[in-house]
Symmetry: C2
Subunit: 272 residues, 2 copies
Amino acid sequence: ATFTIMLAGESGLGKTTFINTLFQTTLKQQRDHSLRHKESIHKTVEIEISRAELEEKNFKLRLNVIDTPGFGDNANNRNSWQPIVDFIDDQHDLYMRQEQQPLRINKHDLRVHCCLYFIRPTGHSLKPLDVEIMKRLSTRVNLVPVIAKADTLSPNEMLEFKNRIRSIIEAQDIRIYSPPIELDDPAASEHAKQLIESMPFAVIGSLEDIEISPNNFIKGRKYPWGIAEVENDQHCDFRKLRSLLLRTNMLDLILSTEELHYETYRSIKLEK
Amino acid sequence: ATFTIMLAGESGLGKTTFINTLFQTTLKQQRDHSLRHKESIHKTVEIEISRAELEEKNFKLRLNVIDTPGFGDNANNRNSWQPIVDFIDDQHDLYMRQEQQPLRINKHDLRVHCCLYFIRPTGHSLKPLDVEIMKRLSTRVNLVPVIAKADTLSPNEMLEFKNRIRSIIEAQDIRIYSPPIELDDPAASEHAKQLIESMPFAVIGSLEDIEISPNNFIKGRKYPWGIAEVENDQHCDFRKLRSLLLRTNMLDLILSTEELHYETYRSIKLEK
Ligand SMILES: Nc1nc2c(ncn2[C@@H]2O[C@H](COP(=O)(O)OP(=O)(O)O)[C@@H](O)[C@H]2O)c(=O)[nH]1
Ligand SMILES: Nc1nc2c(ncn2[C@@H]2O[C@H](COP(=O)(O)OP(=O)(O)O)[C@@H](O)[C@H]2O)c(=O)[nH]1
């Protein structure tokens, strides 16, 4: 199985750290799957693709990570979303052409199953560019907005910031990914509701192992005034996001991409 | 006496919070001098001027704060420095014209004595726009670069970030304000050297009074993992910056502006 995640958002927001933290907290024995030394298979100025394999028990998952380094770095960032949007469309296009072949060799399907859009934790509001980009992403891919560097905001600031973002998303009619609520599965539905209530997820990323008690290590950021912990629900929503991506909703993310988003693209393309 | 500080840098970096923290930690009895509800005397799209009075013992100081709201917010930020640079030059120009009058009424001198340029604490490096703006500011005003939201970076990250910024400033030949070292005053020189070693200053701002022990209140940011303290030298350089601005170097900042920078402007202008 292949699962393709895209990380979008300006540089310096901790995207690389986040994805590596996701691996290191998931692959307890396979620490060499870090993407810190990315082998770039395909690199244009704005898109960087890396691969890793997650092997848990008998389940082998190929994980593709699409990164967008340098995004938003320039003085002039108008249309900076173009390469990202083109990449997403191109993968659907590629798949469509392969599907149309008499002999179908279905290799290297890089259709993006989930796009994490990282938001700068200013404490103010979404930037106009954020809104514009999220609008364009939301119509083509499962969009999950993420508040970066959650340790920058105090609990009250975080609550206000999340509320402000949610109201803008609603006002602007931006469709973000929502875990489906299965009415015949109360436990799963309860979990889905908790995930929905926490959105946008606020994450802390760290590759540092900090010893908080003898032989007890956790991932976190060590400040003179305390340790911000990655896997502590009182500190951030890392575990909720990880659960959505790699456990409870991975299949739905894959299927909705290959059915809903792909079919949307195909019908638009074939109508022309 | 009038002291004019300019706060430059993109929105969301805590500039307003910082200047209010500066007041509230300086004016222990005059808490209503907060600039939170700024009375804007002169407001264009990019420049906002506010006034306050600091009264300590027999010393009355009129403080002008020039803020740059909305700076860097647009998708296209090329030439976003223009209004700021124009403002600085305009004040020298205004003063020059007043000086040339037969009847000299020296009112409303808004020449900027110190420009604090706030840097986003990405942990990466200075943005190209930061370098460009600082270059243009450095030739016209006493420039003091400041790392915003210092509580975003761990001690090691902060050290690396400061070193990286310092080497770029050096490589790009950007002249930043340096407290003069008085050879006949060892104590003052020692203090000046400590200030220089800490540059660029990393600041935390907060208007929250947090009770850390019965009846003992401090300014800080309260996180679930601890309290980042504004006036704690182990946490940030707030006290050093405050000392430079309002105590040890205020006179030098004023004189160097009214002598060096003004004369530079005047000679360039009159040569044309
Ligand atoms: N405060 C804070 N800093 C972080 C966090 N995650 C990463 N960083 C730091 O932010 C900087 C940029 O991280 P990086 O992963 O390279 O960001 P990218 O450019 O978005 O890939 C590095 O100095 C990281 O140590 C976080 O959760 N909180
Ligand atoms: N983490 C952190 N947040 C801060 C700090 N100072 C201010 N903030 C928060 O950053 C947000 C923007 O602050 P503001 O002063 O309005 O920024 P300005 O746009 O530059 O004037 C607010 O939510 C503040 O509470 C700080 O030192 N550290």
